[in-house]
Structures are given as structure tokens and as C-alpha cells.
């Protein structure tokens, strides 16, 4: 018996030592990390908030990275992020140099990083709309103007993600304008986490009504994924500015003074007639990118403060 214990202990000890050795082996060689001066090789890191088919966004994003790398002559990597808050935080701490933000999150990012610039948007983002949809069995009918939103009182309702501009912020603003508070709905308001989820949940009748971004709606109608026998459009909101690329000012120090300009040019140059570039544009649901600037989002900031999403 005691021999058994001894041999077991020996084996155990061997195992533990092996364990620790491998642990030591996998700790990276800290000497290899470059001192702060040598930053040319540090990749330009791009990220995106996955609120429309995040899974596809993530798996296809490498195409954009390859394109930018060719155009800019510096290594470009794509870092996936799951949610809005993490994307803003990663942008703030400098892990993401350029991010494809929504309207609200872009403003949040601009407020948290001094000198952050909005540089490009899609040709649809300066005239962006949200679509209120309803399940047909609820008897809700399309409405003519904003006051018609009162019809939603007493029904169940879902937004998209908390920080979404088109799926939450602007719709909540328009609801407020129409005199509908979140307590007027039946049960608690849902947050579906994405535009696609909102569509599915309303289609299935989990919620009577919901709201999502027009671009996603259109593309789902086109592809036949939205079942028009079950869902109908109630109202299209007035237009507002939404998605845009925000870049961290520190990249100019890292890659040269005109780097931001270069990135902007590279984005604006994406040509729908070149098949490879069209793929990238399709991924974003855009015909092309157009320039934008921080002041375009002043309205979003005011509404964000009003609703309490910006403190």
C-alpha cells in the first residue's frame, strides 16, 4: 500500500513538473516585444460592430483588411468584437485604430477619444431610416405620420441592440416625440440584440411589433428571408445620419502625417466595377463610400443625451 502511494506521488510529481514546464514554455518571450519606438510593424487594426449578420461580417472581413494592406502599405489586421460597448472600449484603449461604428457608438467613441475623426460613410448613411414593422395578425395598420405610433400602445414591442442607433436610439426618440413611453407597451420592451433577430421575432409573433434598420430590411426582403405574408411595414422614420468609419488620431504619429487622409482615400476609392472591391462593398451593403465629418452627428449626440445614452 505504502509503496503504491509513493509511486503514485512520484508519478504525480512528474506530471506536475511536466505541467509547469509546458506552462513556462508557452509564456511568450518578453524580449521579443518591441520597445515603443519601433512601431512601424505594429499593424493597423480595424474592427466593426457586428449588428447585421455579425457572423458573416466576421468571417468575410479579412477581404477588407487585405485591400487596405495593399493600398496603405502597412500591415492591417481585423479584430472581431461582439458588442457595441466592447468596440467603443477597445477603440478607447487603442486596440482598434479604426472602427465601423453606428451613429450613437461613433459619437460615444468620438467623445471618449480626443481628436477621433469620422472619415467615411456609405452612400446610404447620410439618409438613413428605420422601419417599424408589425406582425400581420396583430391588426396593426401602416401609419401616415409620427402620431400614428400611438397605435403601438398596449402591444408588445422589441428594439434591436441597446446601443443601436437605427434599432433603438432614433426609434425611441420618435416614439417619445409621438408621446409613447416605454411603459406604454405590453410587458417589458425587448432588446433582440440584432436587426435580424428583431425581424425573426416579429415574424414569429414573439413580439407584435419591432423596429429595425432599413438597409437590413430591404436586403432581407430582396433575398426573400423576410416573410411578407407575416410582417408588414408600419412606418418609415425621417432620415438621420448613421454608420461611419471613425479613426484614431494617433495613427498619424505612427504611420506618417497624411495617414488618415490615405485611409479615407482608400475607402472612397472602392469601386463597384472591380469584382473584388464590389465584394467588400456588398459586404457593407453599399454602392460606394462617401466622406463624412464629426459635425454630421450633432443631432445624434443631442438625442443620445436626451435619452440618457450619453452622459
Amino acid at each position: 500500500m505504502s509503496v503504491g502511494i509513493k509511486s503514485m506521488k512520484k508519478k504525480l510529481l512528474c506530471g506536475i513538473v511536466f505541467f509547469l514546464l509546458t506552462l513556462a514554455a508557452c509564456s511568450p518571450k518578453s524580449s521579443e516585444t518591441s520597445p515603443s519606438g519601433e512601431t512601424k510593424n505594429q499593424p493597423f487594426t480595424v474592427g466593426a460592430i457586428p449588428d447585421q449578420d455579425p457572423e458573416k461580417l466576421q468571417r468575410l472581413y479579412s477581404k477588407l483588411a487585405t485591400y487596405l494592406q495593399k493600398q496603405l502599405g502597412v500591415p492591417v489586421t481585423y479584430k472581431p468584437v461582439t458588442d457595441y460597448t466592447a468596440a467603443v472600449t477597445a477603440f478607447k484603449v487603442g486596440d482598434l485604430d479604426m472602427v465601423w461604428f453606428g451613429g450613437l457608438t461613433g459619437v460615444q467613441a468620438q467623445l471618449q477619444v480626443k481628436g477621433a475623426q469620422a472619415i467615411a460613410q456609405r452612400n446610404i448613411d447620410n439618409q438613413f431610416h428605420s422601419i417599424f414593422i408589425a406582425n400581420k395578425t396583430t391588426g396593426l395598420k401602416p401609419i401616415q405620420n409620427i402620431n400614428g405610433l400611438k397605435e403601438l400602445k398596449g402591444h408588445t414591442f422589441t428594439f434591436g441592440s441597446e446601443s443601436s442607433t437605427s434599432g433603438r436610439l432614433m426609434p425611441q426618440y420618435f416614439l417619445k416625440q409621438a408621446g409613447v413611453s416605454l411603459n406604454d407597451f405590453k410587458g417589458q420592451v425587448g432588446f433582440s440584440s440584432s436587426h435580424d433577430a428583431t425581424l425573426k421575432l416579429v415574424e414569429a409573433g414573439t413580439y407584435d411589433a419591432g423596429v429595425l434598420n432599413e438597409q437590413v430590411w430591404k436586403s432581407r426582403v430582396q433575398s426573400g428571408e423576410a416573410n411578407l405574408n407575416k410582417v408588414e411595414v408600419l412606418w418609415r422614420t425621417p432620415s438621420y445620419y448613421d454608420y461611419h468609419w471613425v479613426i484614431n488620431p494617433s495613427v498619424n504619429q505612427r504611420y506618417g502625417n497624411d495617414f488618415i487622409k490615405k485611409v479615407q482615400t482608400a475607402l472612397l476609392k472602392l469601386n463597384p466595377n472591380v469584382p473584388q472591391q464590389k465584394e467588400i462593398l456588398d459586404l457593407f451593403g453599399a454602392q460606394k463610400f462617401i466622406p463624412t465629418k464629426n459635425s454630421n452627428y450633432a443631432q445624434i449626440e443631442t438625442i443620445g443625451r436626451d435619452i440618457g445614452m450619453i452622459k
Partner: protein
């Protein structure tokens, strides 16, 4: 003289024959518990408003059907493999570091250490000089424990950015504190005669510990380490929710884009990972002689059996080599830059973060809302544990080996028929328990939100389901480790199987069950925050709003509420447990 004797006998007869009153402490506490459950059900508004959303059944059905044809394309499979390795790696590193922290903290948080340092070990009572540092360390350890891994993760994102360190530290800090607490209790319960002998002959306390107490307690410490590893796997999956990568992250992504076939592929990977780790850990713990998590919790080390060493101990060697190989594989998948821990950027970001957080925003007008949400959160935890406890108790009996031929309830039969059905039932319930615990609670909540309105009920059910899986398994272990002697003697006296179950198994197991349920209640309370994050109501819901608006000052206030609630629940649970012990 005879009269007096007679009276004495009468007296003793009277003493033994009076029934103990029903109004004892235990029944009082049980009434209290039942009242708490009822008022929690009332909190959900179950009978006042619509809870179940019949419109969601078709989506739910669609989701279930997808389980029959998971996405098995090569790309997704390789993605699944990568994600699995990341999750495993987080868990490995998290466990390794938390055990290291636990060992240091555990020694410092033990009474016996301070008694050795202040040379007061010969006293029966714990001396006041030794109490002060002990209390301080205990108090320090209780704060990291009260905060859920996910909140730690959100904090670390703010100072490390997107880095594997976030997930690893998020597991290490709270788990390190829990491990320290349990390790200190193990050390305090270990027989200390050898230690005193060493100390008395002038050996310094650290040396004396290394040569007496630590080797004595080693099997128990190792056993608990493996239990922690199981927990780390589950935790690593949950951390995917905040974007830390791994399986939880992929599941969330696929769930957001409604790709159910992919979700099931990830689910199956999660089942496999959890199942194999749990199986390995249980096997090892069984052979280390401390199979039961509660043995470590209720601390009866002196009386417990020594590890039985036989040829199966080779298994330990085998298993640890597998572990080493897995760790080696993991080391390729994630690169950890430890220099980031003290990099200037980290320190600068930490300073900025502290500036953003303090002073916390304590607004008196909010107190009403906070109180309201706190009661909701408490109700959620009570409902969750009630569901988990009941479900666990129902499922643990078929999941234990007692029904199989040769088991205590079926000792004589050798018929292949019984073998067949016994095995089927065993496998079925065990996989049911595995499925329910392998899926992280927030994912359960997201699935439930298809068919339930947002609120505390989907959160409670999600937490209940997840904890049911854990409790059911722990309870099944309790049953399998029950002392068989009273059961066999009941049988020998002619008791039928139901009788053995009712008068043998149940009364022996029940106190342990209740202790487990209470212990899990504490965990449930902490976990309410993670189902809140996906929209299931309570304080977690408010926390999500504050997170998305970067209102860190108010967030601290909400977090304080959480900590107070957690401490309250811990205290209640501890006093309950003392009662059933």
C-alpha cells in the same frame, strides 16, 4: 427508595416519549424558505400579466429541429475546434493562476497560519492577536468573490483592451479568492499534531507548513483544484459573451444572426468539452479519496477515508499527461503577453478608469428604483435555486448508479433486461444534466426569450436550468458515495427497494442536498448579473443600460447593491447550512 426509582424511570420514560416539538428552528427556517419562494413567484407577476409568448413557439421549434442537422461543414468544424481550444486554454490558465493565488491566499487566510506565526497554537481558543490579520485577509478575499467573472472581464477590457489576459484574469481573480477560502478551510481542518511538533522544535512557520500541513492536505487541495477546473470551463464559455473569444463568443454570434445549425455545432462541442472534463475530474477526485465537493465544504476531514491506491492510480498519471498535452496544444492557440500587466499603457488606463468611476454617483432619487430591482434580483435567485434544487433532486436518483443491478436499490437482479433499462435511464438523465449545465445561463436566457417576455422569469428559468445540471450531478455523486452499510442492513432485514429508498437513501442524502442547494444559491445570486446582461431583468438589466451609456459612476452604485445582496445571501445561506449540518 423504590418509589424514587420508580419516579426516575417514569421521568426518563416521559423524557424519551415526548415528541420533539414541531416548532423548532428547522421548521421555522423551512417556512421562511417556502414564504420566500412564494413571494418570489409573486414578484414575477405570473398571474397578473402575460408571461408566456405563444407567438414564439414556431421559432423555438425551428431552433430545436436544427439540433438534428448541425452545420458540419469543414470550415465551421475547424472554427469550432479553434474556439474549443481557446475556451479550454482560458480555463487552463485561469485554473492554474487561481490555484496559485489560492495557495498563497489560503495559507494567509487560515487560522492555523496566524496561530503558528504568533505562537498561540497551543491555546484552545483562537487568540485575539491572531484574529486581527486573519479577519482582515478574510474580508479582503470576500470582495473579489462577490463580483461575477463577467464584471471582472468588463473591467479588465477597460485596462487591457482586447487581450486573452482579460478572460484569464477575469477567471483568476474571483476563482483565486474562492479557492483561497476553501484551501484555508481545508488547512484549518487538517490534523495539526505534526505541525505543532515541528513548530515546537523551532522550525519556522513556512518550513513547518511545507513539511507537515501542506503534504497532509495535498490530496484534498488537488481534488478541489480539479473541481475548480470544471467551473473554469463553464466560466470561460460565459466570458465569450463579452467578446473574449471561444465557444461562448461563437454561440452568441451565431445566435445573433439566427444560424441555428451552427449554434448546435458549437453546443455539441461544448457538451463534449464539459462532459469529458467533468468525467475526468470526477474520476480523479474519486481516486483521490475526496469525491465530493461538499466534503471540502462541510469539512469532516479527520473522519474521511484515506485515498484508496490501486492499479487505477495509473489513471492519474495517464490523465495528467493528457492534461499536459492539452495545455501544450493550447499554448499554440493563444499568446499571452504578460508584460502587458505592468505596461505603462495599462497603468495609465487604470488611472483613467479610476478617474471615470470615482466618485460613484449616489443619487437618492434612484434608491427607490434600486431597491425595487434588488428585490427582483433576489426573487430571481430564489426562483432559480428552487427550480434547480427540485429538478436536481428529481434527476439525481436516476442519474446515480443505484438502480443498476448490484446497486443498493436493485442488489440481486442480474437480468440483462434490468441492465439494459438501467443503463438507458442512467445515460439519458446524465446527458440531460450535462446539456443543461454545459449551455451557459445567458445563452439559455436568450433561447427562453423566444417564448417568454423579458423579465425576471426567463432569467430565473435560465439560471435554474444551468444550475440544475450542476446540482443534479453533484447530488448523484452524493448518492453514489453514501455509506452503504445502513442500506444493506435494511435490505438484509427484508425492506423492499422503495422502503430502502425512503428510509435509507433519502434521509441520508437530504441534508447534503440541502447544503448543496444553499451553496448553489450563493452562486445563483452572483450569476443573476449575467442573465441580466442579455435582457432578463433585475439589476443586471440596469447594469447593461449603464454599460451601454458608459455611465460608470452610476454603475458602481449598482454594483454596490449587488455586493450587498451577495453578502446577505452568503450570510443567510451559511446560517442555514450550519443548521442542517
Amino acid at each position: 427508595m423504590p418509589q424514587i426509582e420508580h419516579k426516575a424511570i417514569q421521568n426518563s420514560v416521559a423524557k424519551t416519549s415526548t415528541r420533539p416539538t414541531l416548532f423548532n428552528q428547522r421548521s421555522l427556517w423551512s417556512l421562511f424558505g417556502i414564504a420566500a419562494i412564494i413571494s418570489s413567484i409573486a414578484q414575477t407577476g405570473l398571474f397578473r400579466q402575460d408571461i408566456i409568448n405563444p407567438g414564439g413557439w414556431s421559432v423555438f421549434l425551428h431552433f430545436l429541429i436544427a439540433s438534428l442537422h448541425p452545420d458540419l461543414s469543414p470550415e465551421l468544424l475547424s472554427l469550432t475546434l479553434d474556439a474549443t481550444i481557446v475556451t479550454l486554454a482560458y480555463a487552463m490558465y485561469g485554473t492554474a493562476f487561481s490555484v496559485f493565488l489560492g495557495l498563497v491566499g489560503g495559507v494567509l487566510a487560515s487560522q492555523v497560519w496566524w496561530q503558528s506565526v504568533f505562537m498561540t497554537y497551543s491555546h484552545r481558543q483562537f487568540q485575539p492577536t491572531a484574529i486581527a490579520p486573519w479577519l482582515i485577509i478574510r474580508a479582503l478575499l470576500s470582495i473579489p468573490r462577490a463580483i461575477h467573472e463577467l464584471i471582472w472581464g468588463l473591467f479588465f477590457i477597460n485596462i487591457f483592451g482586447l487581450d486573452p489576459l482579460v478572460a484569464i484574469l477575469a477567471i483568476t481573480i474571483p476563482f483565486g479568492a474562492v479557492t483561497a477560502k476553501v484551501f484555508s478551510e481545508i488547512l484549518d481542518e487538517t490534523p495539526r499534531q505534526p505541525l505543532i511538533a515541528l513548530l515546537s522544535s523551532g522550525v519556522s512557520p513556512p518550513k513547518a507548513f511545507i513539511y507537515s500541513l501542506l503534504p497532509q492536505a495535498f490530496p484534498y487541495l488537488l481534488s478541489y483544484t480539479f473541481y475548480r477546473f470544471e467551473c473554469s470551463i463553464r466560466s470561460a464559455a460565459v466570458l465569450g459573451i463579452i467578446g473574449a473569444g471561444g465557444l461562448g463568443y461563437q454561440i452568441l454570434l451565431s445566435l445573433q444572426s439566427l444560424r441555428y445549425e451552427q449554434i448546435w455545432t458549437f453546443f455539441f462541442a461544448l457538451f463534449l468539452l464539459n462532459g469529458s472534463v467533468d468525467f475526468w475530474s470526477a474520476l480523479l477526485r474519486h481516486h483521490l479519496g475526496s469525491p465530493n465537493r461538499l466534503d471540502l465544504n462541510s469539512l469532516k476531514l479527520q473522519g474521511s477515508k484515506r485515498p484508496t491506491i490501486n492499479r487505477q492510480s495509473h489513471l492519474i498519471l495517464f490523465a495528467s499527461s493528457i492534461g499536459a498535452i492539452a495545455l501544450l496544444l493550447c499554448s499554440f492557440s493563444i499568446k499571452i503577453d504578460y508584460t502587458k500587466l505592468w505596461a505603462p499603457r495599462t497603468i495609465q488606463l487604470l488611472e483613467e478608469f479610476i478617474g471615470e468611476v470615482f466618485p460613484p454617483n449616489i443619487n437618492t432619487t434612484q434608491f427607490g428604483e434600486l431597491f425595487n430591482l434588488s428585490t427582483q434580483t433576489l426573487a430571481m435567485s430564489i426562483l432559480a435555486i428552487a427550480l434547480a434544487g427540485l429538478g436536481g433532486m428529481l434527476l439525481c436518483f436516476p442519474a446515480a448508479r443505484i438502480l443498476l443491478p448490484g446497486g443498493v436499490l436493485n442488489p440481486i437482479s442480474q437480468s440483462p433486461h434490468h441492465w439494459f433499462w438501467g443503463t438507458i435511464i442512467l445515460l439519458l438523465t446524465r446527458s440531460l444534466l450535462l446539456i443543461s449545465r454545459a449551455i451557459p445561463a445567458p445563452i439559455w436566457a436568450l433561447i427562453l426569450l423566444f417564448i417568454l417576455f423579458p423579465g425576471i422569469l426567463p432569467g430565473a428559468i435560465a439560471l435554474g436550468l444551468h444550475n440544475l445540471g450542476i446540482l443534479g450531478r453533484l447530488m448523484a455523486e452524493v448518492i453514489e458515495e453514501l455509506d452503504e452499510r445502513p442500506l444493506r442492513s435494511l435490505q438484509a432485514l427484508g425492506a423492499t427497494s422503495p422502503q430502502v429508498f425512503l428510509y435509507g437513501v433519502l434521509p441520508n442524502a437530504l441534508p447534503q442536498f440541502i447544503a448543496y442547494i444553499l451553496y448553489r444559491w450563493e452562486v445563483c445570486m452572483r450569476e443573476t448579473v449575467i442573465v441580466g446582461l442579455v435582457g432578463a431583468g433585475g439589476l443586471g438589466r440596469l447594469l447593461t443600460e449603464q454599460l451601454s451609456s458608459f455611465d460608470y459612476k452610476s454603475l458602481v452604485t449598482t454594483l454596490l447593491c449587488f455586493i450587498v445582496l451577495t453578502f446577505g445571501v452568503d450570510l443567510l445561506s451559511a446560517s442555514f447550512r450550519r443548521l442542517v449540518r
